[in-house]
């Protein structure tokens, strides 16, 4: 072999081809489509910056097209490094740190736009598509609402169409309109839906994360493990749903809907907090009676679970109706608080049973001592009032009643916007400002009880909730957050809610009735009746179903579904084998369906192609723009002796293919027969060639 042959025969690894303007526009459209669902979750400047960079490249492209003679604008690669560094620093400044989930997403958001600025080759384009695919998932970190899902769907289609555009070589491919490319991709996505469904149902989910969830998981709103004046009233400004509850039977009245959450037993003069290591307690035995319901808890990044006061069972993962509740799922503390073994980082559904009781026996008759501790120097006036009450009443029950009477008599105002309390906040609240929200009342009351020698603690949670008639379930929002107290009298813990004393309507009718007009009550807590409220409730019912069935499809729900479908009896490899078989069946069905249209026409099409091929081999190929009649006419000029056959072929084929549907039965078959005979008459290519010569 000569050197030249060797050179040309070697497979040279060519540089990746340059992108065409069309392909760059597709990439730009894809990036915008992928960025838009993400943008609402980013700081405004990051969202704007990322989108603007993409726009800049498209604008440069347009300028190149308008002025083809001018040298095209090239952005030097080193400036991009600078861009990236600036973006990283800015993201860090904005979030306070860089190595976390949210800042990483923000950085990636800008990075794809920077990469797009200098994208020239098809290989760069592939990289962009890969990065963009990942950005399809990231909006769900922040929201898994139906709207988030809807926003991602167009991005998916545009991404597919961009792949299509990248795959087409500009020289060899027929042109295709953007709409046609989108339609084509959408069709392929529809073809892939069965695969997606099977994977969604069968791909095993895991119960706990593979690697630690970054700090963001704790940033969701919800009750904390401490309570200071202002912390719950801040939460009350939020319309976010805390959890939803499906009851087995009737929904209890509002005044009995105390959802027990963190129990706060330590007081430092200002802030109530949970015991650092709450000991494991036992459930109070109430027998089989009680109320059963399923809680769909929104992730709040803390381990606590909520149950109606007082929990009569440990929570069970929803679906496991039989058997003893698993102890490794959650436990109950001595102060009757339910705590999950891991923080609630995904939507959680659990079955819970409660007994609606306002008092229950203490875990340990001697535990009262622990609930009397007060800082000696803080809040002196409260300590005095406590001692005074103790001097007047020997009986603890009478003392509690007297304290509540004192609250009722004094001019207390229930308000979302209490004045700030600096030093000795309990004193300031009880004797000076007398304006406060539930945490002020509960905190101050518990402190007063301890000052009087009655063991007391604060219980936080939610109170009330709204019944959605659309789905007959209860919606509990953050604005329903509440705090009340428990006092230990004669070995029984009794619930005392000082807020109910001051503002009974808060407990009976919710927040909006309890506070004065003009207070900043959240929108949904204030709406009463009317179509807006009704629409909102319908929407929430849909949202609940969405979260229950799709977003909440975690490992437990998956096991439920497998049990219903009786898949859970099989081993993993068997399930995988069935999935593989389903995949093959899908391929076969899809090929058969897409091939079916072709089979119907096969006969006349094959005959026509046969005639065309013969003529092509004889030296007269059909021109791309030529219809059957024109082609036959040209063939007749070349070979006049076969003009009749050509005409018969063309006319019967045109009638079959483009003509109106046959009026009589058998007409179609007759046309096909004519076509077949005429093609049969046509001589072989070699003879035709010699006939022309």
């Amino acid at each position: 072999m000569t050197p030249s042959a060797r050179r040309s025969g070697r497979r040279v690894r060519l540089a990746s081809p340059t992108l065409t303007a069309t392909q760059i526009r597709w990439l730009g459209a894809m990036l915008v489509a992928v960025q838009l669902p993400q943008a609402p979750h980013l700081p405004l400047w990051i969202a704007a910056f990322g989108l603007l960079l993409v726009g800049l490249r498209l604008a440069l492209l347009r300028r190149d097209r308008l002025r083809p003679d001018a040298p095209s604008a090239r952005i030097p690669s080193w400036t991009l490094v600078i861009f990236a560094v600036i973006a990283a620093l800015a993201v860090r400044a904005s979030y306070g740190y860089l190595l976390g989930r949210d800042p990483s997403v923000a950085f990636l958001f800008i990075l794809v736009a920077i990469k797009f600025l200098e994208t020239r080759t098809v290989r760069d384009g592939s990289l962009l598509v890969a990065l963009a695919s990942f950005l399809l998932v990231t909006p769900f970190f922040r929201s898994q609402s139906p709207f988030a899902a809807l926003a991602v769907l167009p991005a998916l289609v545009v991404l597919g169409a961009t792949l299509d555009a990248l795959a087409r070589s500009p020289a060899a491919s027929l042109a295709r309109s953007p709409a046609a490319a989108l339609r084509r991709t959408a069709r392929m996505i529809v073809h892939g839906i069965p695969i997606a469904l099977v994977l969604f149902v069968l791909f095993p989910r895991i119960g706990s994360p593979l690697w630690g969830l970054p700090a963001e998981a704790g940033a969701q709103s919800g009750l904390g493990d401490t309570m200071a004046p202002g912390s719950i009233s801040e939460l009350s400004l939020s319309d976010n749903v805390a959890f939803r509850v499906d009851f087995d039977g009737a929904i209890p009245p509002p005044a009995q809907r105390y959802w027990r959450g963190p129990v706060l037993s330590r007081f430092d003069g200002r802030e109530w907090s949970m015991l650092p290591r709450p000991g494991t307690g036992t459930l109070t035995r109430w027998g089989p009676s009680g109320l059963s319901y399923v809680v769909t808890l929104e992730p709040h990044g803390k381990p606590w679970l909520f149950a109606l006061d007082l929990p009569a069972s440990l929570p069970r993962p929803s679906g496991e109706e039989s058997g003893e509740p698993a102890d490794d799922y959650a436990f109950i503390t001595r102060d009757q608080q339910l705590i999950a073994r891991t923080a609630v980082s995904q939507v959680l559904r659990y079955t819970q049973r409660s007994v609606l009781r306002a008092s229950y026996p203490a875990f340990d008759p001697d535990e009262g001592r622990d609930y009397l501790r007060l800082p000696a120097r803080a809040n002196p006036r409260t300590l005095d009032l406590g001692r005074e009450l103790r001097a007047q009443h020997d009986d603890d029950g009478a003392l509690v009643g007297a304290a509540l009477d004192w609250f009722r008599a004094a001019p207390f105002v229930y308000t979302l916007t209490p004045p700030l309390l600096d030093r000795d906040p309990v004193d300031a609240f009880l004797f000076d400002t007398r304006r406060g929200f539930c945490e002020h009342y509960a905190g101050a009351f518990a402190a007063l009880m301890r000052a009087a020698g009655v063991p007391a603690r604060v219980v936080t949670g939610y109170q009330g909730g709204e019944i959605n008639p659309r789905g007959l379930y209860l919606i509990v929002r953050q604005s329903d957050a509440h705090a009340w107290t428990e006092v230990l009298i004669d070995g029984m813990w009794r619930r005392v809610d000082p807020t109910a004393t001051v503002a009974p309507s808060r407990i009976e009718m919710g927040l909006s009735r309890a506070v004065a007009d003009g207070e900043p009550v959240p929108l949904f807590a204030r709406l009463e009746g009317g179509w807006l409220k009704s629409a909102q409730l319908t929407l929430d019912a849909m949202n609940h179903a969405w979260r229950r069935n799709l977003v909440g499809f975690n490992r437990d729900r998956q096991r439920d579904l497998w049990r219903e479908l009786s898949i859970d009896r099989y081993a993993g490899w068997q399930i995988a084998a069935v999935a593989g078989a389903l995949g093959l069946a899908w391929a076969g069905i899809l090929l058969a369906l897409t091939g079916a249209a072709r089979a119907k026409r096969e006969r006349e099409q094959a005959l026509w192609l046969e005639a065309c091929t013969r003529l092509a081999h004889a030296g007269l190929p059909r021109l791309p723009h030529e219809g059957p009649i024109a082609y036959a006419a040209r063939a007749s000029r070349r070979w006049p002796q076969f003009a009749i056959a050509f005409a018969a072929i063309a006319e019967s084929y045109a009638a079959l293919r483009y003509g109106p549907p046959p009026a009589r039965a058998g007409e179609r078959e007759a046309l096909v027969a004519t076509l077949a005979r005429a093609v049969d008459v046509l001589p072989a290519p070699a003879r035709l060639r010699s006939a022309a010569a």
């Binding site: 989930r101 598509v129 399809l136 769900f140 899902a149 392929m188 469904l197």
Partner: protein
């Protein structure tokens, strides 16, 4: 082990190899691509996409994003559908070998194949052969497309098209689907005409002959229809320029002089085989230009005197196929 037991094993192995890799040119007049011939693997972009899907899956798993799973699996479905469509794009394509051109050593031979996709448009069909620039085209439905693959022909002899790889990454470019076809199609590579070859030898048979190029043109006899392969020197260019069509000028008699004999043995004994073949090739062309009939005599073959196109082709082919073992 005896030969008798060994041979079938080799045969089976050879058959398997042929079945999978089509090493020998055993495909006949037409090949229709079926599943047994179509191979599919992820393309480079396909691997990148599969890797991305894995990362998306891990992310969804870790953060328990149900909708993340949904999007990941929808994209997986799209990739799987692209696999099926990549198969559909090749399945049913019919390929026929049409012709191979001829050339002189150092030129290129063009092999033409007819590719038809039936009713559907077949997208981005690429054809590769060893040493040839890949050719790519969309095959519109209903029309066979003639694709030309050009292979460089560095040596005289017969150049086979060899195994052809027909491939496509459509749709979406995530999957590379391909098929091998191997037609017994080959073209003749004539020896390279010797540059600056000496003038044609004097005629044989003791006739007095004029030197080529100096001989007066014989009398113009008329025009006939042009056939591919006619000497450009004989084309009636004025007629072409007028748009009257392609014609070739014909001359009276046997051409510009008497018949020639081009003889191997008449060449200087010092010349090596390839040089002799090159010179004889140059002479055949010169005789054709001069429209002189000639005879060719080389070891192992001879052609009687004639001067038409077939004669020229026969002579050149004879020179091209000159046995290789006599080269030394």
């Amino acid at each position: 082990m005896t030969a008798a037991t060994h041979v079938p094993a080799v045969g089976a192995w050879a058959r398997t190899r042929q079945r999978f890799f089509r090493h020998s040119p055993a495909d006949g007049e037409r090949v229709v691509l079926r599943h047994s011939r179509i191979y599919i693997l992820p393309s480079r972009r396909g691997w990148a996409m599969i890797g991305t899907l894995a990362i998306m899956l891990l992310t969804s798993l870790n953060y328990a994003l149900s909708l993340g799973f949904a999007v990941t699996f929808l994209l997986t479905g799209l990739v799987a559908a692209a696999l099926l469509h990549a198969f559909r794009n090749l399945a049913g394509i019919e390929i026929r070998p049409l012709a191979a051109s001829e050339t002189f050593a150092g030129g290129r031979i063009a092999f033409t194949l007819s590719v038809s996709g039936g009713e559907r448009t077949r997208e981005g069909i690429e054809i590769r052969a060893a040493g040839a620039e890949p050719v790519a085209a969309d095959i519109p439905g209903g029309t066979p497309v003639i694709l030309k693959v050009e292979r460089p022909a560095p040596r005289r002899g017969r150049l086979a098209l060899g195994r052809v790889t027909l491939s496509s990454t459509q749709p979406l470019g995530l999957w590379h689907a391909w098929s091998y076809v191997h037609f017994p199609l080959s073209g003749a590579v004539y020896p390279e005409p010797e540059p600056g070859a000496p003038p044609l030898p004097r005629g044989a048979h003791g006739q007095d002959m004029t030197a080529p190029g100096q001989g007066e043109e014989s009398e113009f006899a008329g025009l006939r229809e042009y056939h591919p392969g006619d000497s450009p020197a004989r084309v009636a260019w004025k007629a072409v320029a007028r748009g009257a069509g392609w014609y070739t000028k014909e001359f009276d008699g046997a051409g510009g002089g008497g018949p020639l004999t081009l003889e191997w043995t008449a060449l200087a004994a010092t010349l090596d085989v390839e040089t002799r073949l090159s010179r004889l090739t140059a002479w055949v062309l010169a005789a054709e230009r001069a429209a002189r009939p000639f005879a060719l005599r080389i070891p192992g073959g001879m052609l009687p005197v004639a001067n038409d196109r077939n004669h020229r082709r026969a002579a050149l082919t004879m020179l091209a196929m000159f046995p290789a073992e006599l080269r030394a």
